[in-house]
């Protein structure tokens, strides 16, 4: 077998092996420069109802949270007033 032919076979084998490794996902599961999260910790849940992030206790966050609470308290007043409006039912006149 000629030397060139042996090199060609070697390259083909390396390429095929490389393709197999790539398709198995072993190479793409850890990309260079990426940090893996080995502790299994979850990101904090996204804040709802206008609140700031749960781990943010800055002045701006406190102001944001207070405003969000004020908004809900206004909604609460509306809900309570709606309860009152239904309590005066009367029989329909015949």
């Amino acid at each position: 077998m000629s030397k060139v032919f042996k090199w060609v076979i070697a390259v083909v084998v390396i390429v095929v092996l490389g393709l197999l490794v790539w398709r198995s996902g072993w190479l793409t599961s850890v990309k260079p420069g990426m940090q893996t999260n080995t502790q299994g910790t979850k990101a904090p849940a996204a804040p709802k109802n206008g609140m700031s992030a749960s781990n943010d206790a800055s002045d701006a966050a406190l102001v944001q949270d207070s405003a969000a609470i004020d908004s809900q308290m206004q909604g609460y007043s509306t809900d309570s007033a709606a309860v009152d409006s239904g309590l005066g039912d009367k029989s329909i006149g015949q």
């Binding site: 002045d59 102001v63 207070s66 609470i69 809900q72 309570s80 309860v83």
Partner: protein
């Protein structure tokens, strides 16, 4: 901080308890649609019958609109499960469908006695305004009350951390700590009152013309309404505590800055 954690944990238990109690309200909506009113012998002129039919139509339209409106409010509740909301929506739709059928029946009534019984049933049997709507609205208000308590607890925990940091920086945190403790107490009481409002009202059923039962239902709903008023009062006081703490933190930060500059 520990007390706030305890408040937060108790709120988790409270929000779960809210759902099963509200299920009774759903049952009340379903059962009221199957009640019938006895027919009496009545004579009525054609014009009187037409007027009664028109009144019945108007009252049914009002109730259908009110139920549709409260159903929209239910869908915005956050402290009950989606399955529960869907169940309540289905029950309300059943009620609306029943009213639509009653509307057709009233229009087709030819007997004055039957017409009078059908029109009377709109209020006495279904009690949409006197019972069903207040029950669901009380639940919706309580739901929002639990949400506000959770939001205040989250903010309270942040304020606790800031107070701790200010204390370590040499600030006098006595007043802020007192406000924080009061905040925790107000949140806890608000949660208790909100749960009480639902526990009190959710099990009520329509009086079907029984005046004694109607009086009892009215009194129970008034008690639930008083619970909701107590919740609002607690939240207003809690909000003042929050303001007081934030002012204290600002003053502490300014004092630290002035001390740093003077050095």
């Amino acid at each position: 901080m520990k007390k706030n954690i305890l408040v937060a944990l108790s709120l988790l238990g409270f929000s779960v308890a809210l759902a099963p109690v509200l299920a009774s309200a759903a049952t009340a909506v379903t059962t009221s649609a199957n009640i019938t009113t006895p027919v009496a012998t009545v004579t009525m002129s054609a014009s009187a019958m037409a007027a009664a039919k028109a009144r019945g139509d108007k009252e049914l339209d009002r109730r259908i609109a009110a139920l549709t409106d409260v159903n929209a409010r239910i869908q915005t509740m956050q402290k009950v499960t989606d399955a529960f909301k869907q169940n309540l929506a289905t029950n309300i739709q059943t009620q609306i469908t029943g009213f639509a059928a009653l509307k057709s029946k009233i229009q087709a009534d030819t007997d004055a006695g039957v017409l009078k019984a059908d029109v009377t049933s709109i209020t006495q049997s279904y009690r949409v305004y006197a019972l069903i709507l207040p029950q669901v609205r009380i639940a919706a208000a309580a739901d929002r009350g639990v949400l506000i308590a959770e939001m205040m607890t989250t903010l309270g925990n942040k304020l606790a951390a800031r107070i701790q940091a200010a204390g370590k920086g040499g600030a006098d945190v006595t007043a802020m700590t007192a406000s924080l403790n009061d905040l925790g107490a107000k949140i806890s009481d608000a949660s208790t009152q909100a749960q009480a409002s639902v526990s009190t009202s959710a099990a009520l059923t329509p009086d079907r013309g029984d005046k004694t039962k109607m009086a009892s239902n009215t009194a129970t709903l008034a008690k639930a309404r008083a619970n909701l008023a107590a919740v609002e009062k607690d939240f207003l006081a809690a909000r003042k505590d929050i303001d007081s703490i934030m002012k204290g933190l600002k003053a502490a930060a300014s004092a630290t800055t002035n001390t740093t500059v003077s050095h």
